[in-house]
């Protein structure tokens, strides 16, 4: 009985404390909530619009031939961008060969040897700043080293430029993965007599392998969509090329060149190439996100 009356009196007190409906404060609260909710919906519109438009414009030409043929001469219809897909894979392959060893080994230093030191702090800081360096400057860097000194524009020069973008991503993400490996695993390995090298190579790195794979995937997805560093390193090529020492076509550069020339068939091909590129990158991004999320739970 007394319990109930106490409840009702505290309910009444709570009622008094509540903001009165229709007061300025209440209206302001509602307005701000509505406004930010509107913002949240609004910023997703470009994503939906771009995906929708690329799919609508690109799907018409999508067929097996776009993967197996090379681009037609300006103004002619048909053809595809098979050579650009191969070129993208080759430049990304070269970039990965450079970036993965450097990025993973650097991450091992940060997580296993340099944890908490000033050196590690400085390196991490530099890597973060490196992430913010405009992609086109990676192109200038590779141009001034590889293109000038080693026989002109080439797929290799493009790979070097892309590796600059990949290294900090591989390093930072791998480091996060290594840090998640429990300390006990390292101690146990050392306690049974393994050397530090054996511990890292046979216990820590294998345990962090899923995150390292995610790190590589993220870096490849980021570098694979970049055109700016390739414009004057890998350049472009209308023909099939598998030679790392020669200019090579890539999907992003092909999209750029075909979108700024006034031929309708080429523009059409640019849309289809954009659909393929966007499709691959969005699928990879979504999958890698789900993979890392499962890891955390």
């Amino acid at each position: 009985m007394t319990q109930a009356s106490q409840d009702s009196s505290s309910d009444a007190m709570l009622e008094k404390l509540k903001t009165k409906p229709g007061s300025t404060k209440e209206l302001f609260n509602k307005f701000m909530t509505g406004l930010t909710a509107f913002f949240t919906v609004a910023i997703l519109i470009p994503l939906v619009a771009v995906v929708f438009d690329v799919a609508r414009e690109g799907v018409g030409q999508l067929g097996l031939n776009v993967f197996t043929e090379r681009p037609p001469a300006p103004g002619l219809t048909g053809g595809g961008f098979g050579n650009a897909i191969v070129g993208t894979l080759i430049t990304l392959g070269i970039a990965s060969l450079i970036a993965i060893p450097i990025g993973v080994l650097a991450a091992i230093y940060l997580s296993e040897f340099g944890r908490g030191t000033k050196v590690a702090y400085g390196i991490r800081f530099a890597a973060n700043v490196l992430t913010g360096v405009p992609a086109i400057l990676a192109g200038l860097f590779s141009y001034s080293i590889v293109v000038i000194n080693f026989g002109g524009f080439s797929a290799f020069a493009g790979g070097v430029a892309l590796s600059v973008l990949m290294i900090p991503i591989v390093m930072r993400t791998t480091e996060e993965g290594l840090k998640l490996v429990p300390r006990g695993m390292r101690d146990a390995s050392l306690a049974v007599g393994a050397t530090q090298f054996q511990t890292i190579a046979k216990v820590v790195v294998p345990a962090a392998l899923p995150t390292i794979a995610t790190a590589v995937t993220l870096a490849v997805a980021r570098a694979g969509g970049e055109a700016a560093p390739l414009l004057f390193t890998a350049l472009n090529n209308n023909f099939w090329s598998f030679d790392p020492g020669r200019p090579i076509a890539t999907l992003p550069v092909l999209i750029y060149f075909f979108s700024i020339i006034p031929y309708r068939p080429q523009q059409q091909l640019a849309w289809t190439a954009a659909l393929v590129l966007l499709g691959i990158i969005l699928i990879v991004s979504v999958t890698s996100r789900f993979l890392t999320r499962q890891k955390q739970f």
């Binding site: 909710a37 994503l47 913010g132 141009y143 001034s144 080293i145 050397t195 090298f197 055109a227």
Partner: protein
Amino acid sequence: MSSFAGESQRFTKQMISKRNSPERIADQGFFWLTLVMAASVALLLIWIGLQIFTAAFPAISTYGLGFLTSTTWNPVSNVYGLLPQIYGTLVSALVALLIAVPLGVGVAVFLSEDFIPYTLRDAISMGIELIAAIPSVVLGLWGIFVFVPFMRPFYTFLNSTLGWIPLFAGSPRGFSLLTLSLVLSVMIMPIIISISRGTLNQLPPELRLGAMALGATRWETILRVLIPAGLSGIIGSVMLALGRAMGETMVAAMLVGNANRLSASLLDPGSTIASLIASQFAEAGRVQVQVLMYAGLVLMFMTLVINIVAEMIIKKFQNIE
């Protein structure tokens, strides 16, 4: 007792020296290998700067600092000035911020509060991350064929009603600094949202409880307590976004109009440092390459300063936390 300690120490030393040398060499070698690789990541940043500086040096000694304040760009007579591009880079990035900051911070607040269920918030933030994953060249393509034609009537309207303001003067054709800014604002929004949201989520819950206990409403708490407390993280995210907007290349090259002119109007075509390099480098002669390297060095300096300050602000905040 002490002899026992001595004995055990000798035993440990024996055990250590017993480790055969290949194992020790592998350990030492591996340590140094990782250290060298880690150091090379930091040195890479310096190397990029030095390399571009070296390549730009002939142009720097020829054109000096006057390059930054002159407006002519004539490869035929080798007269070069970067002022229109510096102006275009700064103005397009700042206008993009003007749009992206209120929206981005608003969304960050909305997603860090419990207005909607967690799963829905998670799905939305995933969509926002996907915006960041769209290749810039695809956004450029979309801009050329969809966004510019779509915006043209609005630009014409803006021009005919507000044309007396220099910002909206001229004859709008679609490719302009404003178009670039609008697309840039979409591209940098994910950075602002993810870092600002992270900062707001990390704030100690006592701040909110304290404000609520004093009788503040939800939005009073957000605007007077939470946002001021997370301000450094928000400012850091905005500066990172500024750096990203200034360095963005493909969208700029495809949408800004690539006109070497210095115009007060946002509806006029212009150019940025990055778009200049992208559109001219492949066909440039020897001197022009050096000049474009100089332009790249200017861009590197601008973005580096902004990024370093941004990282310092974010780091400082994280350390306090």
